[in-house]
Amino acid sequence: MNKVPTICPYCGCGCGLYLHIEYDNIIGVSPVRNHPVNNGSLCVKGWNCFEFIQHPDRLRYPLIKEGSSFRQASWDEVLKLIAARFSRIKESSGSDSIGIVSSAKCTNEENYLMMKFARAVIGTNNIDHCARLCHSSTVGGLAAAFGSGAMTNSINEIANARLLFVIGSNTTEQHPMIGMHMLDAVDKGAILVVADPRRTQIAEFAHIHLRHRPGTDVALLNSIMNVMIREGLVDILFVKRRTENFDSFKDTVMKYPPEVAERITGVSAEDIKKVARVYATEKRSMLFYSMGITQHITGVDNVCACANLAMLTAHIGLPMTGLNPLRGQNNVQGACDMGALPDLYSGYQKVADPKLRKKFEMAWRVKLPSTPGLTLIEMFDSALKRDIRAMYIMGENPVISNPDASHVWDALKSLDFLVVQDTFLSDTAELADVVLPAATFAEKDGTFTNTERRVQKIKAAIKPFGESKPDWEIISALSRIMGYDMNYRATHEIMEEIALLTPIYRGILHHRLDNNYGLQWPCPDVTHPGTPFLHRMKFAKGLGTFMPVTFVPPAEIPDKKFPFILTTGRTYFHYHTGTMCRRTSTLEREYPECLMEINPRDADSLRIKNMDKVRVSSKRGAIIVTVFVTERTPEGIVFIPFHFKEAAVNLLTNPALDPSAKIPEYKVCAVNIEPVK
C-alpha cells in the first residue's frame, strides 16, 4: 500500500491528507498529522474525498455532439475540431467573441495556463471563474481598502485569538477545520460574536449572536463603528498614521446610531453596543466573513465596512489580529492569484497597466489585449446578445451554480460553439458541442492555494481514469494546435514561469513544497519562508483607505405576492453542484434530497409539516422541495441549499449584481411558498 500526500479537493481550508493506493485503486484516506490547517482531523467530505475519483460515471474519452447525442472521439480529432472552430470564430467575429471560464477546482498551474491561453492564444481578456460568484467583492473591496484581497492571517493563529467576530459564515459546516480552531479559541476563553440570521452550529457557541435581517450588514457594521466613534473606542494613532479618508467616512457612519440600525437590522441597540465595546477593547480580535457578506448587491460595500471596522480599531497587521475572508473552493484563492480574472494578470497585476502588460507581452512573445474583459455573468448576457459566440468552460457547472439558471441555459444554447472540460458529464457539459475528459486532483501534479494563501503541492497518486488527461496537458496541446507553442514537460516548469512573472509567487517553486506544509504568499524570493500575516507595519498599498458606505436595501424585498426571504447556501454534507459529493455514498445517504429550512411558526401558518413537499416560487421560476422545520432559521426567512439539480434553487435566485464586483445577490430574494398536495 502506498500513501501519497495531497490536499483535499473540497473547501478552501486546504487540509493535508494522504491517499491510500493499492494496485492503482484508491482505497482510503487519512489526515496529515500536525498539518497547520487540519492538525490530524478531517471533515466528513475530506474523509470520503476519494470515492468519486474512480466512479464509473467519470468521463472516459472525449465526446463530440452529433445531433442530440454524444459520440466517442479521439483526442486528436477533438483538439483539431476545437482549434478549427475557435480560429474561425476568432477570425469572423473577433477574439472578444470567445469567452473562457476557468476553474477554482483546478490547480494554479492550470489556471495560469488557461489565462495565458485566453490572452495569448485567443487574444481576449474574457476570462473569469466562479470567484465572481463568491468573493469578487472581497477582491475588489479589499484591494481598494488595503491593496490586497486575501485572508490577512493564518488558520493556526485562530486558536490563540481573544475575540472572534464571525459574520455571514457558517464556519463549522462550510470550513469545518477553521471552525475547529475557532472552538479551540473559545475553549481557551476567547469571546465569540456571530452575526448570522440563522442559528448555525457555530452560533450555538457564540457569546453574542446577532440575528440581523439578510442584506442589512452595512447598517449593522456602520452602527457598530458609530458606537466606537462616539464612545472613544477608536485607535486614533493607527487611524492617523496608517489610514486615509477618515473624515468623510466618519460623516457617513454618524448617520447610523444603534437605534436607527435596530430598526433596519432587527438587532437590539444594546447588542450592537456590546459588540462594539468587546471588539474594540479586546486585543487580538479576528474578523471572519464569507458568502453572507459578499453575495449581495452591496457585496463590495459590506466588505469595505468590514475593512473599516478592522482599521478603526487597529485590528490588522498583527498575528491573531486581522480581517479574514474565508474562501470557498479549494483553489479559488489560487485561481484569483493566477489572474483568471478579466482585468488582472497573475499576482493581481492590472491588465490596463501598460508597463505590466509589456512584461507579459515580452514573456509570452505576443501582443496582448489592453481592455479588461467580460465577467462571468456578463459573458452569459453577451452570449444571449450574440456578442459572445463561443465558450470554453473548464471545470465549472454554471447551469446549476449561477443565479437565474434558466437564463444561463438559454445563453449556452444560443452559442455557436461550446467546449466543456470536466471530470463528469455535468449539466453544463450536456449542452456542449465538445466535452473533454479531465483528470481529478488525484491524477495530476500541481499546487492549490488555500484560503490563508498557503500554496500546497498535490501529487498524482494514480493514472488518469480512462483516456482523461490533466487540464494543463489539454490546454497546452490545444494551444500547440492553434499555433502557439506551449511546451511544458511537467507542472513544475509552469510554476517556474508563474514565479518569474508574479512577484507574490516569486519564491514559490515545487521543490520547496514537496512533502511539506506549503508556503504562504507573498513569498518574494526562494529563501523567503512565506508570510503568515499581511499588512505588517504598512498596508500593501501604503495607507489603508476608509471607504464610506451607506446602507442600500436588497434588490428584492418581500411583498404580498412573495412574502418570504429566500437565502441560499451549502450544507455540511454536500459541496456546490454535487458533481463529486453526490457520487460519494456516505455523503449522499446523509443528505439525499433538497431540504428547505423553515421556522416552525411559519410552517404552522402555512399549515405544512416536517417532510411535506412545497412549491417555492419567485419572479423567475419555481421548484418543488421538501420542508425541514427547524428553529435554526428565523421567521420570515427560508434557506435552501443549491446542490440539488432536481430542485435547483438557482432557478429562483435574483441575478441582480453588485455594480462594481458584478457578484449576484444569492443571499436575498423574495419567494412564495405553497403546500403541494
Binding site: S41, C43, V44, W47, P56, L183, D187, N515, S585
Partner: protein, 344 residues
C-alpha cells in the same frame, strides 16, 4: 510461548531485507516534514525507527476503508480477495491488542473471509513503546506499552540492540532461518529491558480509568441531556470511528460498470452519521447527534466488555488527535468519571 533473543541494531536492515524476498514489507516511513506513515517500503533505509506512537492504525491493512468484494456480470460472481503475504514492521502494542479483538469479532460464528484472508497472510513485528505520546492511555487498559502474549514478534529497544521476543508460530518462523543473526540475551539485557519497561510506564501523562466510567454509566444512568450537550460539539466527521482500531462498521454498495455488471464493495461506515440507521420510508431512528455519540460510547464501554470481556478501546488516543470537537474517549471518560455535567 514467549522466547527472547537479542539482535544487534546493525543487523536489522539485513534481516528485514532477507524477509522482504519472501513477502512485501510495510513499515513507518517519513514523508518529508509531513510526518510518518505506514506504507510499503521501497528502500529499507527509509524505515523510521523512532516514529511517534500515534500514526494511523494498521486496521486499514486488514480492513481497508474501501474494499472490493466481488465482481458480478450476468449473475456470475468473481470473488476478489487479497492474499498478499505481508510483514508489517513497527506496529505498537495497542494495535496488536486491537487486532486480537478484531480477530475474534471477524472470526466468530460467521467468518469474514476478506478480513481473514488479509489477516492470515500478515505478520506483525511490534515495538515496545518507550516514548508514549501525551494522548496515549493504553497503560490503564493493559493493552500496552508492551505485551506479554498474543504477538508475533516484539522488539524492545535497549540502546544498541533489540530484545526480540517471539510468541506465535508465525513469528518464530521469521526468525528460524536467521538464527545466526541473533544471540542469547545476557542477564544485564533483561535488566535493561526491565528498566525500559518501567520508565515507559512512568512516562504516561494520561491516566484514564474506563472501568470507573463504566460503573458510573451502569449505576448513575448518565442522562440524555449530557450526551446532547456533548453532541453540540460533534462535527459529524466520523473521524473517531475511522481512526479507531476497533471500529468495524461498513456499508455495502454496488457500482455498476455497464448494464448487469459491476463491483460490489464495502466502505467504512460510522454510527456517527444519522443515515447509518436510516430505514426505507424516511425513518431516521437516530436523528440526534447525542444519541449516536451515546451509542458509540456504550458500545465501547458496555457492550464490548459484555461480549468480549474487554473494553472496546485500546487507549491509542487516536480519537483524541482526530476529533475536531475534542469529544474523544479520553475527554468524555474523564468527564463521566469526575461527574462533570457543565452545560458549556
Amino acid at each position: 510461548m514467549r522466547n527472547s533473543l537479542v539482535l544487534d541494531k546493525n543487523y536489522l536492515s539485513y534481516w528485514l531485507r532477507q524477509i522482504r524476498q519472501k513477502m512485501s514489507l510495510i513499515a513507518p516511513i517519513r514523508v518529508g516534514n509531513l510526518g510518518v506513515v505506514l506504507k510499503t517500503v521501497e528502500n529499507i533505509h527509509e524505515i523510521e525507527l523512532n516514529c511517534p506512537a500515534s500514526i494511523p492504525s494498521v486496521k486499514e491493512f486488514l480492513f481497508p476503508q474501501k474494499e472490493d468484494m466481488f465482481r458480478f456480470s450476468e449473475g456470475t460472481v468473481d470473488i476478489l480477495r487479497n492474499d498478499t503475504k505481508r510483514l508489517i514492521f513497527g506496529v505498537r502494542s495497542c494495535d496488536i491488542s486491537a487486532i486480537a479483538l478484531l480477530d475474534r469479532f471477524f472470526g466468530e460464528n460467521f467468518v469474514d473471509d476478506y478480513y481473514m484472508s488479509r489477516r492470515e497472510n500478515t505478520i506483525f513485528i511490534s515495538i515496545v513503546c518507550n516514548n508514549p505520546e501525551p494522548t496515549c492511555f493504553c497503560l490503564g487498559l493493559g493493552t500496552g506499552p508492551f505485551l506479554k502474549s498474543n504477538f508475533d514478534i516484539q522488539l524492545t529497544d535497549i540502546g544498541d540492540r533489540y530484545i526480540v521476543e517471539t510468541y506465535s508460530k508465525k513469528g518464530l518462523d521469521l526468525i528460524k532461518d536467521y538464527y545466526y543473526l541473533f544471540s542469547k540475551p545476557k542477564k544485564s539485557d533483561y535488566e535493561t529491558q526491565y528498566e525500559i519497561l518501567l520508565s515507559s510506564q512512568a512516562s504516561f501523562e494520561k491516566r484514564i480509568n474506563l472501568e470507573n466510567a463504566r460503573q458510573k454509566i451502569l449505576i448513575e444512568r448518565i442522562s440524555d441531556p449530557f450526551w446532547d450537550w456533548i453532541g453540540r460539539r460533534c462535527f459529524e466527521c466520523g473521524g473517531c470511528v475511522y481512526e479507531c482500531p476497533l471500529c468495524t462498521c461498513f456499508n455495502v454498495l454496488d457500482r455498476v460498470k455497464s448494464e448487469g455488471s459491476g463491483t460490489r464493495f464495502r466502505i467504512w461506515d460510522a454510527c456517527m452519521f444519522k443515515g447509518f440507521t436510516k430505514i426505507a420510508g424516511n425513518i431516521w431512528p437516530a436523528e440526534k447527534k447525542g444519541t449516536r455519540i451515546k451509542q458509540w460510547y456504550f458500545h465501547k464501554l458496555l457492550y464490548y466488555p459484555d461480549h468480549f470481556g474487554k473494553f472496546g478501546c485500546v487507549g491509542c488516543g487516536r480519537c483524541t488527535i482526530t476529533c475536531p470537537g475534542h469529544i474523544d474517549m479520553a475527554t468524555i471518560v474523564y468527564k463521566i468519571d469526575i461527574g462533570d455535567r457543565r452545560r458549556r
